[in-house]
């Protein structure tokens, strides 16, 4: 990871202005780094087995970025990237879980309230992800607020920092996005 430390910090510095090519290089590094940390945490915390997005993203920040060479804006960029990476990781697992649960030849854990519930939970998460993509077409920033909070575990203040808006704006965006998503997920249910 220390090789990446230099590279990630360097790339974050070059990111100013939202350079697409730099972003494409950074994303896989952040994804892998975060994934790695999540897996290690899971191993360490076998008995407790609680992971927090907030803790993961902050640990990633400390481990993956050279603190002496980072600016305030770069920190915000990193949090945004890490939230996006968390979203991908979790959606990948939800998809994997869904695929695993179909068909006759896969060992499954089954037929009981708990497990049916768990499968439904992965489905719910996928539905949420889709609704969020629809929201992005209406208002990109509102969808980002949800991404940073729901997937990345960022605080309101951090989100304001990342988006370069006031905390007040973040609160309002959140409130509207939350209501809209609630409504969307409900109509999904009644259709399905």
């Amino acid at each position: 990871m220390s090789d990446n430390l230099h590279q990630i910090t360097q790339l974050l510095g070059e990111l100013t202005g939202g350079n697409r090519a730099v972003l494409d290089q950074l994303m896989p590094l952040v994804y892998d780094g975060l994934h790695d940390i999540a897996k290690r945490q899971l191993y360490k915390e076998r008995s407790g087995h609680t992971l927090s997005s907030t803790a993961l993203v902050h640990e990633a920040y400390l481990k993956m970025v050279d603190q002496n060479r980072i600016t305030w804006q770069n920190r915000a960029h990193f949090f945004a990237l890490a939230s996006q990476a968390m979203r991908r990781i979790l959606i990948n697992y939800a998809n994997h879980r869904k695929a695993q649960k179909r068909g006759g030849n896969q060992p499954i854990v089954t037929f009981h309230d708990d497990n049916v519930a768990k499968e439904t939970r992965a489905d719910e998460l996928l539905a949420m992800d889709e609704a969020l993509q629809r929201l992005a077409r209406l208002n990109e920033r509102q969808s980002k607020v949800v991404e940073y909070r729901f997937f990345g575990g960022l605080t309101q203040e951090e989100i304001a920092e990342v988006l370069g808006v006031s905390v007040q704006t973040v609160r309002l965006d959140w409130r509207l996005a939350r209501a809209w998503l609630g409504k969307e997920m409900k109509s999904d249910e009644s259709e399905g």
Partner: protein
């Protein structure tokens, strides 16, 4: 909806927040200027705004279980992990090296994290005594069960290098007689376990390996029970969790009824059916959990001799391949299965445990007579 309309909704929603909740609907009406659609839309949003929503207010990470990882070189008690060799619903299996004693290569099954260590230890202890009694040349030995210092429950078993029973038979184009001969070895091992009061509960070709020299080894005897009971105590509900493979699961398993020797006999029936007919008795692929359950409990499988020409699988080449993998042609294979083999499979796969063979021995006896019948060119 387009962005312009959404912008309008946003503005109205924002101004409404200045009003006390009870006067919002009235204020809304004024702001919408007769646009009823708009009014309805925003009313729904206000309703959602006031409602608790445990999902959105929670965290995405709580909606999936990320699998833990154990890397190469990781030491668990006296075993050093070398590489992952399998993945299951409740556990992962690794090849590992014993660091003390005989320094054997072993298969190390690591249970899902988050289980209650103390209760597992007690249960493991009890089960271990029973399982250790299972000494049979065709059953992979259980070496140790325990919980490591960092709370990782594990099961260490003899490491077997071999091919799954079905692959082994197909690759070598074994004839029906040769397949049954191997299957009889499986039956004898299962019978031995049953006499020692151990039910396998998860018999399937992947748990039956054939070594290079043709020795059959059954894996994971009684392991699914260990895993089941280990998990039970961590659940809030009393139901517990059952590990099984639907393709080989008996109706009583998917309904969480009592598991007995008849459950293993059903699984043996599925394995036999596939060995001779090349298709599974029930087509479960692509089905959701409830359809799988319903089919297992209610749908009568086709007779193996008829299943050869099952319309949903087919294509003539599929049939022809099944026959040639058994060193024969379709017509001859169908004739071999008709009658006695159909009856044997039906009996083993009966929906109700009481209608199945009472003991593996009876199944073995019928198979023996079947093979003799084949030799005489008749089905008895």
């Amino acid at each position: 909806m387009d962005q312009a309309r959404w912008k309008r909704i946003e503005e109205i929603f924002e101004s409404l927040l200045d009003y006390p909740p009870q006067s919002r609907p009235k204020a809304l009406k004024g702001m919408c200027g007769g646009d009823e659609e708009l009014e309805k839309e925003i009313l729904l949003l206000l309703k959602e705004d006031a409602r608790e929503n445990s999902m959105i207010d929670g965290m995405a990470i709580d909606y999936v279980d990320l699998p833990g990882v154990v890397g190469q070189g990781h030491v668990i008690d006296s075993f050093r992990v070398e590489r992952k060799i399998g993945e299951g619903g409740m556990s992962n299996v690794y090849m590992a090296q014993e660091l003390t004693g005989k320094k054997r290569k072993i298969a190390l099954k690591l249970l899902r994290p988050g289980l209650n260590t103390q209760s597992i230890l007690r249960r493991f202890q009890r089960e271990h005594e029973i399982l250790a009694r299972l000494r049979h040349p065709n059953i992979a030995r259980l070496i140790k069960v325990g919980v490591s210092e960092d709370d990782q429950p594990y099961i260490a078993m003899e490491y077997i290098e071999g091919e799954p029973l079905d692959t082994y038979c197909d690759k070598r184009s074994l004839t029906i007689e040769e397949r049954i001969e191997l299957f009889q070895v499986v039956c004898r091992a299962v019978q031995h376990a049953h006499i020692n009061k151990v039910v396998h509960r998860d018999l399937k070709p992947a748990n039956i390996l054939v070594e290079a020299d043709g020795t059959v080894k059954l894996l994971d005897f009684g392991i699914s029970k260990l895993i089941d009971t280990a998990d039970e105590h961590t659940k809030i509900t009393k139901t517990g969790v059952h590990v099984m493979t639907p393709q080989y699961a008996a109706p009583e398993q998917v309904r969480s009824l009592e598991i007995t020797v008849a459950t293993d006999i059903y699984a043996l029936g599925v394995i036999l059916y596939e060995l001779v007919a090349g298709n599974p008795p029930l087509a479960l692929d692509g089905l959701g959990i409830f359809d799988v359950q319903r089919k297992i409990c209610t749908e009568e499988p086709q007779l193996p001799s008829e299943a050869l020409t099952r319309p949903d699988y087919l294509g003539e080449s599929h049939e022809a391949r099944i026959a040639s993998q058994r060193g024969t042609n379709i017509a001859a294979l169908r004739k071999m299965l008709q009658g006695a083999m159909d009856t044997i499979c039906q009996r083993a796969l009966a929906k109700s445990p009481e209608d199945r063979y009472k003991m593996v021995e009876y199944l073995m006896y019928d198979l023996k007579r079947y093979v003799i019948g084949l030799g005489m060119g008749t089905s008895w």
